[in-house]
Subunit: 250 residues, 5 copies
C-alpha cells in the first residue's frame, strides 16, 4: 500500500485547500483587490476558516506563512504574458520547500503542450525528491496548448487525472467536467490518487460553485483547491463554512 503522504491535508479522507499563486500566474491586477492583494489577509482566511492546506509560492511563504495550516509550496510557475505553447519551470527546490515547513509540493503540468516533455521530466524528478523527504507531490494537470480543443471534456479531464497517477503523484488538481457522472470517470482513472477540483475563476453565484463541489464529492473526489471563490468573496468565512459542509458532508 502506498504511503498516504496527503494525510496532513485531509480530514476523514477529504480536504479543502486554499490556493494563492494567482499573483504569479495571472498578475495582481487580474485577480486581486486592495484586500486580497495582501497575503496576510489570505493567510488569515486559511487559518481561521478551517482550510486543510494553503498553497503559496516560496516568496509568499517566506514572508507570510504562519504555520497555522499545512503548507504546500508551488514549485513552478509562469506569468500570463508569453504567447505560444505553455511551459512552466521549477523556481523552487524541494529542499527549500521543506525548509519552509511544507508538507507538500505542487507542480503544474500543461498536458498537451508541445513543451510537455520538459514538464513531465521535471515532475518525475521532483516526485522522487519529494518522497525522499516525505513530502506529498501534487500535480496540477491543466490541458493547454494548440493541441487542446476543450480543456474540460470528460476525456481530457480523465487523462489529466491518469497522468497524475502514472507519474506517481499523491494528488491531482484538475478541472471540473461539468457533471458528477463524467467527473467520476476521472476519479476512477486516478485510481487512488486524491482528486481535487481546481476552483477556477469566481463563479457567477456561490451556489453554482458549491454545486460543482457537490458533484466532485459525489463522484468520489477528495475535495477542492480553491482560491478566488473564497478570497474574492465578500464574506470568505461564510463561504468557507458553506464549502466545508459540502466537502465534509457535515
Amino acid at each position: 500500500m502506498k504511503k498516504e503522504r496527503m494525510a496532513p491535508f485531509l480530514k476523514d479522507g477529504r480536504g479543502m485547500l486554499l490556493a494563492y499563486d494567482q499573483g504569479l500566474e495571472h498578475g495582481p491586477s487580474t485577480d486581486f483587490d486592495e484586500r486580497n492583494v495582501d497575503p496576510a489577509f489570505v493567510m488569515g482566511v486559511a487559518s481561521k476558516c478551517g482550510f486543510n492546506g494553503v498553497v503559496f509560492q516560496k516568496g509568499v511563504a517566506e514572508r507570510f506563512y504562519d504555520g497555522s495550516v499545512p503548507l504546500i509550496i508551488k514549485l513552478n510557475g509562469k506569468t500570463a504574458l508569453p504567447k505560444g505553447e505553455p511551459i512552466s519551470r521549477q523556481v523552487c527546490s524541494v529542499e527549500h520547500a521543506a525548509s519552509l515547513g511544507a508538507k507538500g509540493v505542487g507542480y503544474t503540468i500543461y498536458l498537451g503542450s508541445s513543451m510537455e516533455a520538459e514538464m513531465l521530466a521535471e515532475f518525475g524528478r521532483i516526485q522522487e525528491e519529494a518522497h525522499d523527504r516525505d513530502l506529498a507531490a501534487i500535480a496540477w494537470v491543466y490541458p493547454r496548448g494548440s493541441a487542446v480543443q476543450n480543456d474540460s471534456s470528460k476525456e481530457i479531464v480523465a487523462y489529466a487525472a491518469r497522468l497524475a497517477l502514472e507519474l506517481g503523484a499523491d494528488a491531482a488538481k484538475i478541472k471540473y467536467t461539468g457533471d458528477s457522472e463524467s467527473f467520476s470517470w476521472a476519479v476512477k482513472a486516478a485510481a487512488g490518487v486524491k482528486v481535487f477540483m481546481s476552483g477556477g475563476p469566481k463563479a457567477a453565484t456561490d451556489e453554482g460553485f458549491l454545486d460543482q463541489v457537490r458533484g466532485v464529492i459525489r463522484a468520489g473526489g477528495t475535495g477542492v483547491a480553491v482560491g478566488r471563490n473564497i478570497w474574492q468573496n465578500d464574506d470568505p468565512a461564510a463561504m468557507s463554512e458553506r464549502l466545508k459542509r459540502v466537502v465534509f458532508g457535515t
Copy 2:
C-alpha cells in the same frame, strides 16, 4: 558472453509480458473501460494468468504492484496529445525503479523522429546505469515521425531491432512485420537481443492476434509484450492460456 539480464522474465527462453502503460500513452478514455481502468484488475491478470513480467509506470507500481510477477518499470513516457515530432523523456530514475523492486526498465525510442538524438543519448545513459544495478534494459523501439512512411515494413522493423542491439539493450519491443519470414530478419538483426512483439491495439479476432504471435515464435522471437489484447478481452484468463500455448509451445 553477455549476462542474460532478461532471465527473470523468461521460461525456457521465452516470455510473455503484460504491458499497462496505455493510461499515460493513450489516455484512459481511449483504451480503458470500467474494469481495466483499475490497475488492481490488471495486476491480478498478470499474477493469475501466468505472465512472466508486468510493465508499469512508477506511479502505478507504487500503488498496485504486489510482487507476484517480475516488474518492468517504463522510465519514459509521453501523452498522445502534442503534435509534431515525437519525444519521450525520462520520468523515473533507474534508482527509483530498482527501489520499487523492478528487475528491468523500459524506455521508448522513436526511431526516425527529429528528436531521436535526445532519446538515443538518454537510453545510452540508462542502459549503463541499469546494468550497474543488474537490471535489464529494454528498448521499446517505435519508428515514428515525419521521416517514417511505414512503421512495420521488414526494413524498418529490422532497423528497430538492430538499434536495440547496437545500444546494448537486453531486449527489444518492436512491431510485427506481418509475416514470419520478414520478421525473422529482425530477429537476426537483433543478434541475440531478446525480441518481443509489441501487442498493439486489440486485434479483430483473437485468432488473428495469436497468428501474429505464432509468426514471431516461428521467426525466433522470444515472445510478446501484450496489453490490450489481454485486458480488453472478455476473458483474459482464457486468452492468456491460449497465448501461453503459442509462446511456450506447450
Copy 3:
C-alpha cells in the same frame, strides 16, 4: 518574519542605489562620455555622494570597487544588439559575487519574454543560493518582448513587483508608472518586498526626475536605483544631494 537582507542598503527603511551596468546593457557609446566611461569616476560618485549601494557587473567590481559603499553584483546581463525575444543569462556565480564583497546580487527578468521560463528558473536557483550566503536577492523585473504592449502601465508594473514577491526577492527594481497613485498598487502587490524605481534614461529636467522619485516615496516605495540621472548630470554631487532629500525626506 522574513529576514531583512536589504538592511545594508537602507537607512531608516529607504535607500538610493547607484547603478552602473549600462556599459554592458547599452554599450559605452550610448550612455557614456569621457568622464563617466571611467568606472573610477562612478565609484567616486557612489562613495562621496551618499549612496546606499552601488551596482556593478563583476568585471567592474574586480577592478574598481573600493569597499566604501555596499556592493550589489549584477549576475546576468546581455547586450543591446540581438533582436528577438530578450534573454539574459547568469554570467557571475553567487559565490564569486560574495568573494568580491557583495551584500546583494541583482538579476534581470524580462517579464513577458518567450524566454521568461529560463530566467524565472535561474532566478529561483539564485535566490536560494544568495540567501544561503546571506546576500540579498534583488530582481530587476522589466516587461519586454512581443507580448508586451506597454511596459509602464499600472497593471504590468504591479505584475513586475508581484513577480519579485512570489519568487522570494528581497527587493524589486521596476519602472515608474507615471503617477504615485498607480505606483502604490505596485507597492501593495510587492507586499513587503522593497520597491526601487528604475531610474531609466536621463530625464528632460532634474526636477522632472525628482518628481518621479517623490511619487515613488509617496506611494510607499523604498527608493530608487539610479544611474544616468546622476552620473550623466553635470553636477552629480548636487543632484545626489537633491535626490537624497527626496528619498529620505530630510
Copy 4:
C-alpha cells in the same frame, strides 16, 4: 612529444581497422546480408584476417567482442532516418568503453552541420576523458549538412583532418579526395594525427578500392578504416590479405 595512444592499433606505423557500426548508422537492410548481419562473423573476420582494430558500438561489443583484436568503441551514433541538419550524440560513456576493454573511442563530428557546435563540445569533453584513461580519441569527421556542397573536395577533406588535430584527436577517419596528391594536403593539415581513410560503400571493383588505399598510403596516410569493402566481399580473407599488402607494403 605527444603520447602515441594509437600504438595498440598500429604495426610499423600503419594500421587497418575493421568498422562495423553500419547497423546503427544505415540500418541492417541497407548494408547487411544473412552472413554479415551476424556480428560473430565480423568479429571472426577481424580476428582471422589480421586487422589492427575493430570498431563496434557498445551493444555489439558487449555480446560479441572476443578480445582477439584491439577494440574501438564508437561513442556516438544516429540512424539514417531523421532529415535535417545531422546531429549525433554520445550514447556510451568513456568509462563504459574502457570497461569493455577498448583501447580507443570513436566519435563522429558532422563538419558543417548547423548542430556542429554541440558535437565539437562533446568531442572536446570526450577527448580529455579518454586521455585521462589512456584511451585513443579518434574523430570520424564527415562534412555534412546544407552548408556542404562537396564532401570530398581537397579543401573540405583537409578541413576535416585539421579539425581532428585542433581538437586533440589521436587519429582522424576521413573521406578520400580521389587522388593521392590532394589527399596529401589533408595529411599535412593533420600534422601528425594518424589519418585513416573511411572505406565507404563497397567499391565497384576490389582493385578500385585498393587503388584508393594505395593513394592514401602514398600520401602519407596511416591506413584505412574499412567495413563494407571487407565484410560484403565474397572472400573477406583474400580481400583483407590484398589490403594488408597495400597498407603495410609487404
Copy 5:
C-alpha cells in the same frame, strides 16, 4: 587593484601575441600553405621572433608547444562552414589548458549573435575558473550576426572592449576601428583591460599593417594578436622585428 594576470604576456606593459587557431576557424586551405600548415614552423616563429605569447587550440599545443613562449589556449572554436547566427562553444576545459602549461585562456564571444547569451554565460564560468587557477581570461570579442551592420565602427568596437571589462576579462582582442582616435574610445571603454588588436587577414602591405598597430599603441592599446600578417609573410623574422619596434617603441 586587480591582479595583473596578463603579466606573463607583457613586457613594459606591452605585448605581441602570435595567433594560430585559423586551422579550425577558417580551415587549412583558406589560410595555410605548405610551410605554415605545419605548427612546428609557427611554434618556431613564436619562439625565435620575440613573441610574448602564442595562441593554440589544445590539439596543436599537445603536439607542438615547446614551452619557449607563454601559452594561451583557445577554449572554444567553430568552423567557417555553418550558416546562421554564430555560436562557438567550449571544447577544452580550463583544467586541461592549465595541464598543458597555459598561462592564459582565450574565448570568442560573438557580440550581437542571437546565440550571444550562451557565450556570455560560458565565458562567465570560464573567467571564474581561470582566475581560480591563476590563468588570464582573454576575451576575443567579435561583433557578428544579422544584428551587426558594421563590425569595426567606433561604437561597436568600443562595445566589444567594454563587454570584456564588464565580464571580468584580463584582456580583450578586438578589431581595429581604422584610426587611432576612434580606437582610443575603445581603450577608454576597456578601463584597464589590456586591449589587443586582432590582426585579421594579411594586409595589402606590411607598412599598412604596421600603421594600424601604430594607431593601436598611440590610442593606448597594449599590442596586437597577430597571425597571418606574420606567418604568411615571406620573412616572418623581419616582419616580427618591425612589429616589435612599433609595439615596444624601441
